[in-house]
Symmetry: C2
Subunit: 341 residues, 2 copies
Amino acid sequence: MNEPRERRRSTGRITLADVARTAGVSPITVSRALRGERAVDPELVARVQAAVQALGYVPDPAARALASRHGSHVAVLIPLLSNALFVDLLEAVQREMRPAGYQTLIGITHYDENEEEQLLREQLMHRPAGLIVTGFDRNAAAHALIDRSGVPCVHVMETSPQPGVHCVGFSQADAGAALTRHLIARGRRRIAFAAAQLDPRTLQRLQGWQQALQAAGLQAPELACLDPAPSSLALGGRMFEQILAAHPDVDAIFFCNDDLAQGALLAALRLGVAVPGRVAVAGFNDLTGSDQMLPALTTVRTPRAAIGTHAARMLLALIRGTPPAGGCIDLGYELVVRASS
Amino acid sequence: MNEPRERRRSTGRITLADVARTAGVSPITVSRALRGERAVDPELVARVQAAVQALGYVPDPAARALASRHGSHVAVLIPLLSNALFVDLLEAVQREMRPAGYQTLIGITHYDENEEEQLLREQLMHRPAGLIVTGFDRNAAAHALIDRSGVPCVHVMETSPQPGVHCVGFSQADAGAALTRHLIARGRRRIAFAAAQLDPRTLQRLQGWQQALQAAGLQAPELACLDPAPSSLALGGRMFEQILAAHPDVDAIFFCNDDLAQGALLAALRLGVAVPGRVAVAGFNDLTGSDQMLPALTTVRTPRAAIGTHAARMLLALIRGTPPAGGCIDLGYELVVRASS
DNA sequence: CTGAAAGCGCTTACAG
DNA sequence: CTGAAAGCGCTTACAG
């Protein structure tokens, strides 16, 4: 009898084959039982599970990915982590994905087209099971990468009427218009719009502001204060000063993000400008701290956690091949009127 | 002659074997040339690279992971993403890791021992090349998982004299003591410490506060205001009110995190309490907005970005098997004195 | 400095 | 409902 040849590279790891042996079934049956795929005799499933328990078997994701040609993770591309908006979104996505057995890989684009394209390339080479991206604006190469990859993709934060795309979000333009109409209803007539970063969603809010003013016969293009620099409290404070200096008749300012508006409120305190007496101030997103400001900040509450949850569920459905209910979900927004307007 | 048997499961993907064929070398030489491993004839390397370019070859991480028994990613465990501290840390880690070819997988523990253990289990089953964890406090099972995994691990945010462990951070206790001494030097005598969350690092700052007071003969255990709830602006405001109500003689409050202190400053404005006239206020971490507050907030600047950078480099060295310079790096902290104290 | 062979631990596709 | 065979695309360990 031949001596059994020694295995050359054994890792000592407990494998699916070990489970199969102790359960007295074939490896493929173990594989199917574990993934809940197709029908497997309940009794065999029980035996497999017992063996898994007894041996402490843990599947190897790399082997699984190699054999099945896609990983057990999803990639999420967001612009920043320093905006609490995206942190809330991410946490919600992870909360759905982890129990479903998917890891979440985060890519931060810094609002940069080229970084996003590069990131997409890297992520896609890891063969994610699914993809979540922010909005619809990206360069042609990035679009092509997504399309050609065949990886299911959900777009978040915006909505689109385009058929075939999957998205979860709300109308940024409508939300911007609604906030502007609120200011008009409060009797404001010279309403400025102050924005930083100038990403697509900010510009959509800008459009909403324009439309609402136009509808009321109050249009004032000179009151759009646009700065491509990153959003921050300090910048908001500076914008507040500049706008009041340049346009003393302004009686309301709509900031495209709460951090700018918070900075403006702080600057108003510093400068002794009465809010809302002299000028009303409003923000967007209802970030943490806005309800604590003095005066408390009027803003638009955006459903980012719900967006994350729904986007994850939609992606899971796409991954499983069960078509999700509807291609595009509009989760709306909520006007939060506080003392600053 | 036999008909060449058709390949059964070809994916159409360009593989290392394809590159080898067009470069006219063996697959293993391609593998070595691409990874820059050992010596390979420069001319062959050039031929391989040309073939890679021509074919648009992209290595498959799953196959690589399966063959080499560890992934091309590192896992990072942090408590929260809603504290800007950890966002800065993460961004710095990613900035080092991506160019080195490693993806960063983020796990959020929510300051929960069991969640951390579970997360560790999941992450480790994905065989990361390296691991970064926050601090040293975790349950025995989590410790054992890290040790037994054999995965190189760097601890961040704290320092430890223990030999054999790798860490990058600073002394939280020293920083807490330094801030307290500053308040004492400013003539404050009844100095309260207000903390939320009560995670290990917060409690280390508490110790620093105690030591500094004791050294000055000012100890006042009744002035430690500890709340296990998550840190927030609103909670800081409430704590501010409570402390002044319960201890009217308090003349300074040291909040364990800037968000609490910012909330306190806002509450002071609301209540008409003079800061620093009636009571000095200080925070910790120098988070965004602290310099914009009214008055601007005295705090301790913590080097989280530098911690991320150094931790990533240390981990890279451990992964490559080159022992890093020193097991533990203390990056210190910086007192930032502003108008609130 | 280079290579032929074997293997990493799973799943797919084909049968029955 | 179950299985034997082949293969996913790399790297390790052994030679030379």
